[in-house]
Symmetry: C2
Subunit: 333 residues, 2 copies
């Protein structure tokens, strides 16, 4: 058995007092960020393990802390289902907390989850924009996987969806349907989902030697913007035979405006959406071809990665789960 590392060992190695080490490890008192970081790094390098963990080495609780950023979000919920399915079927119990996008609340939740000795933490975001990783002194060495919203540290284990590939597939699908004059109706420009889908779309167009029929119509994610954007596109007088909408509500708004103007969908203009949101995609008068983000699979994969990490086989880097094209009438005459 190897010797247990003490606060004295860390103090000696880091050239600080034992009290300073204690402050850093327990995140108390006044310390510069530099000193705190140095001590945590030293403790880590020496293989220091907190007493609480030493008392019950390898004693797993079977508890997984699941921290959602947004329980109301229609994106985090299916991923939550996937994670619960996987963890439940391996007799792990899920401790659910909702941080409501508040970093302080997230920190408080994680402290509580750590106090309950969870075996792992699954951080579930509400959108694909990346997020800052948890600080090492927050998570106390507990394995972490980030789902949907990946960590912006590429060394962390994250699972999210492949929006770049989806953007390319959308264009390829329209090209296969014989469309050559393609416009794009988008939500706000700053979302990672927006940027990634557009990057994929532009790449696919370039590979076919084509350009967009009109500049990308940036707006919000609401149906009313879809209605307005379609009118803007029609008013330009340019030829359009396919419209890629970056979500289903936009697609529905676009389709309603086209139909109201006597334009046939998909015969005159094919329309494709994203998110495969049943209520919008299937209830529209012309059911909408769309991409399913496979959110449950993202939740399942994240949970499996977390179980692997708990069992000593951590994954690193971001895993991208492909979106599935669900073909409906809006692109098939």
């Amino acid at each position: 058995m190897t010797k247990r590392i003490t606060l004295d060992d860390i103090a000696a190695a880091a050239h600080v007092s034992k009290a300073t080490v204690s402050k850093a490890l327990n995140d108390t008192g006044q310390l510069s960020a530099h000193t705190r970081r140095l001590i945590l790094k030293t403790a880590d390098e020496l293989g220091y393990v907190k007493t609480a963990n030493v008392q019950t080495p390898r004693c797993k609780t079977g508890l997984i802390g699941l921290v959602t950023s947004d329980l109301e979000g229609r994106f985090s919920n299916p991923a939550l289902i996937g994670a619960e399915n996987t963890l439940g079927s391996t007799n792990h119990a899920v401790l659910l907390t909702n941080s409501r996008g508040d970093p302080k609340l997230e920190r408080a939740h994680i402290d509580q989850l750590a106090a309950r000795r969870v075996d792992g933490l699954l951080m579930l975001g509400g959108e694909t924009d990346s997020r800052p990783p948890l600080k090492p002194n927050t998570a106390l060495g507990i394995p972490i996987v980030y789902a949907y919203a990946p960590s912006n540290n590429p060394e962390d284990c994250s699972v999210t969806c492949d929006n770049v590939a989806a953007g390319a597939m959308a264009i390829d699908h329209l090209l296969l349907r014989g469309r050559r004059h393609i416009a794009i109706v988008s939500g706000p420009e700053h979302y990672t989902a927006t940027k990634d889908r557009l990057a994929g779309a532009r790449k696919a167009l370039k590979q076919s030697g084509l350009q967009l029929a009109a500049p990308v119509c940036y707006g919000n994610w609401h149906e009313s913007w879809g209605r307005t954007a379609a009118q803007l596109l029609l008013s330009k007088g340019v030829r359009i035979d396919g419209i890629y909408c970056l979500n289903d509500m936009l697609a529905r708004g676009v389709i309603e405006t086209l139909l109201a103007q006597g334009i046939r969908v998909p015969e005159d203009i094919a329309v494709i959406g994203h998110d495969n949101w049943q209520v919008t995609a299937t209830e529209c008068r012309v059911p909408i071809t769309s991409f399913d983000n496979n959110l449950q699979e993202i939740g399942r994969r994240a949970a499996r990665h977390l179980l692997d990490a708990i069992n000593g086989n951590p994954h690193h880097g971001t895993t991208y789960i492909g979106c599935s094209l669900i073909v409906r009438k809006s692109t098939t005459a």
Copy 2:
């Protein structure tokens, strides 16, 4: 200290063998429902406490078991948020399980939650139809509250929404807007929500000496049925100036058909929905007046009732939370 009740005491009082008592208490072996019930009742009257509980009297874990019947449901999710908010703010941790409407899985989850010594169980349903209560030998004396789907045992503590009052408010709102020729578009007849809303609506009409302008249009809960039902109502040739739709998707379908036929909403026909589902109620070309079920409040109230029960002050019976009327353009010219 009072004498601990043993299996022998129960056997003597119930005039059965000790083995039979054991079978009943552990839910094993072959026993008639009558005998099992008699023994559980006797054990309860004598104040029998299972050994597992005797070992740690009053030792609370701060864990609450939350059993959802349907995590995908858009009704259970807001109630889950309300419950999590309340329990989280009192330092209770929520163990989340999803029974997916499967009684066997529900039973397995509850066994696991009991093994983790949860202080209470919150049973969260996906619709307002009542459900059978948990068997006493399943829950082992753990306090239980049923949310959204109430228990069909009126002695149990349940919290759900007041659909009868909502139905009456819908009619009163249309009457206040000067409407006298009211039709109703509904989902399937067998839902408790359907029956309750219609009972409230009929009562309000009767109080004003009015009748429905046409028989209730029963169908499904989809927008396409709203479109069809509106056409059916128009084809009858009866005068209609208000339509109460039992959800927002039906209301949206009705409104689309009316607009397509040149009928103005609300000037010619006012339309009211139910559920206040943002994406449908606000994205419709004519935003829809609707009822918010206050699901978060249902979750919060259920959680508070559960905390009361854990602290020795159980509630009995069903608490009805009122729905709130959200007035939008579909009823206000």
